[in-house]
Amino acid sequence: MRFLPLLATLAMTVPAWAQDLDTMPAADLLPLAQAEGTVTVYAFTSRIGRVEAAFEAAYPGIDMVSFDMSSTEQIARIKSEAGAGIAGADVVYISDAPVVLTELFAEGLVAQYVPPRVAELVPEALQSPLLAQRLSTKVLMYNEETYPDGAPVDNLWDLTKPEWAGKVIMVDPLQRGDYLDLMTEIVLRKDEMAAAYQTEFGEALPEGEDAGKRFIADLFANDLVLVGSTDDVNAAIGAKGQEAAPIGFTSYSDRRDNEDEGWALQVANEVAPANGIVFPALLAVNPKAANPAAARLAIDFMMGDDTETGGDGFKPFYVAGDWATRTDIAPHPDAIPLDDFNGWTIDAAETAKIRAEVADLILTLQ
């Protein structure tokens, strides 16, 4: 944390008006943002296109320029831009919290901004150190056409049994950060994994055995099938007309594409000890933003308005499988409410600590 003193010095030298921007209501930000005239957003989802249209309709005269790129790419880009002394983005909309917090936030490349009007509406843990706009998932999903009576497994340890050999599918955790976070969480929750082992097999694991690591080892030994992208997983699990569809880990909200793609994806929620991970989609400002007022106005907009579904700013994210962090936005009627959802919410700081170690474990198993 050798950067902290530096950061503190920087914070003290930031002009007073920048701190004012953080406390201004949207109405006061608007004229400043209009004077800036434009705001650049890096986002990890294509849904940003619809946010752009809605934002420009709500605030004529401010041009939102949005770029859709993966979190990994954003991280590489933000670092490069900082190195080149360029302020590329004003707003960063990103997942991959373990890396964002330890590498971008800690080094002052992104900064926290919480619109004053939502400060009371978002739980403290979800607005600090960076504001989360919604929660997303990597969880166990199955094919509801093949298994009309519900999920074919009720315990993660089921996946290590012979009947699921070669039938469990996921993205290579050494190629996608989200999946490595999932594996890391399983190791962090080793006590719960040990209890679930006892439930499943009726006996305890040998003394001193790490249940999380043991699970990962058994899963790989059970001929786990790895693919390159979440869409490959979705197609593999979800495709209709399969007699014995595989099961695997993907995003709950991808169920929204079932109709478009001809899939039958459904989430397995009744799984011990959990069905996967829930992680935040973060909204942050660039501390060196070229358009600081418009950046804050854009974040204010994306946090949704005061209607029950968050209005136009939040509309693209009001889908089953994504949960708003604002407690006053009603849960999506077609989705399992977050409180009833059986996923582990990741702890970015804890994940960051052992993520590399888990990656090495997986490397030796492949």
Partner: protein, 562 residues
Amino acid sequence: MFALPRGFGLTFGVLAILAVLVAAPLTTIVIDTLGSAAWREVLASNLSRNLTWLPLKNTMILGLATAVGSVLIGGFLAWLVVMTDVPFRRTLGVLATLPFMIPSFATALAWGSLFRNSRAGGSVGMLEGWGMSVPDWLAWGMVPTAFVLISQYFALAFTVVAASLASLNGDVVEAGQMAGASRRRIVFGIVLPMVTPALLAGGSLAFAAGVSNFAAPALLGLPVRMQTLSTRLFGMVEIGQTERGYILAMLLIVVSAVFLGAGNRLLAGRRSFATIGGKGARAKRMALGGARGPLCALALGLCFVTTVLPIILLVAASLAPQGSALFSNWTLHFWIGASDPGFARGQAGIFRNPQLMTALWMTLALGVGVAVVSVLIGLLAAVVLNGKRIPVLTEAVSQLAFLPMLLPGIAFGAAYIALYGAPIGPFPALYGTPWLLALALVAATLPFAVQTGRATVAQISGDVDEAARMTGAGFVRRLFAITLPLASKGMIAGALLAFVNVIGDLAIVVLLYTPQVPVLSVLSYRYASDGFHQFANAVTLLILLISVLATVLANALKGRGK
């Protein structure tokens, strides 16, 4: 006073250019890993087996298979098209250059649509659909990956060998015919030895392209956990273990350099490959007689499987709303449709995307600019390499010019950002400008330019140049009056390879491009990564179309040069 050897200035100049384009970025990543603990992890720890040695073994097998297969198929087709009276020569010539323009993920997907079995779930391929059982080794892993790589990169060998055959002096063949040599004797005794440099050049290009390819092993190898150095490298960069990634990249370079060094030694064993004399006629086409039909059928069959089939599948995939039913409910929505909230998640067709036109022009400008610059540098390097050898310097030019080929694009991009992303002294950071892309792409396409340039220049007889030198013509004069015109065919081939490579490249530009500088391949990748596969396929087809037009144009130029 100490006299510099002849050609020192030129050699030094070329070396300086290569230092800026290739050596400097690579040195940056070497320095980044100096003293890193990652060295031990990669080379000597309990991780090494899976991290390094197994992927290395797979990489070597794939590289060798690609080289051998590509030279066999590409050489065979080039011989048929250039030297014989086989029917449909023109068509075959165009078809044989196409595979290089089809992204390898498209060929890999095409393989899947035929042979895919139920291992990775989802819908199975046509064969299993017909009730046949496809074993894992045919559906996934080494065999299909090698097939996809060969079916893509034989086009490299074809282009290089065909250019070389086309500029072959007809006199020698005729002399053989007059002396009563059999057809077989002429092919194996005269033609083959003369095109050896081109075969080796084509083979090395295919080898290097094969070992650094990412898409094919990623799509076909992963389900059976077959890793290559490039998939490992990508994964390491992706999860933040960049140092390990860099070391793997360096390992890849070393291994390939050893292999290519051996190839160069073979080439150096022969004294001279000069086959373009000052005069000489084009060879008469060889009459195939009764073998005409079967050979033609074989060639067309090869082209159909490697070229036509993937294109058909790509077209279908840009029109069908569902990936699982490629030939039903076709619509043009993905190309020209207006946004409809109830269809394709509200995404409008590609021609309604305002970024498309900007990306189109940017891509074309980059493609043409990079191809021209790269071929010129390549020609200069080729002249250096075929001239009088200067100890150390000539060898350095040879190695540096080929290095970019061995670097997986993503590592190359990372190295470029590491060096040119930030301001250097008085020079501003190139990040955020098209220049960074242009610079990296010139470097990345140099191997094509140098190899094709070399194969052509090696054939230009020194007599002509020597004669001009005696009359007092300077280097520049000789370059423009003799080397350029005589090498023009090979250079057009080289420029075409570079152009096609640039406009289809994703691996390098994906890290270097900035939103202000959009290019088509990134646009396609964006669509694909958001699950908009039809849109991605449509943009890919657009890239393919530009490549085909460029090929037709290049062929027309070559034809006029006759």
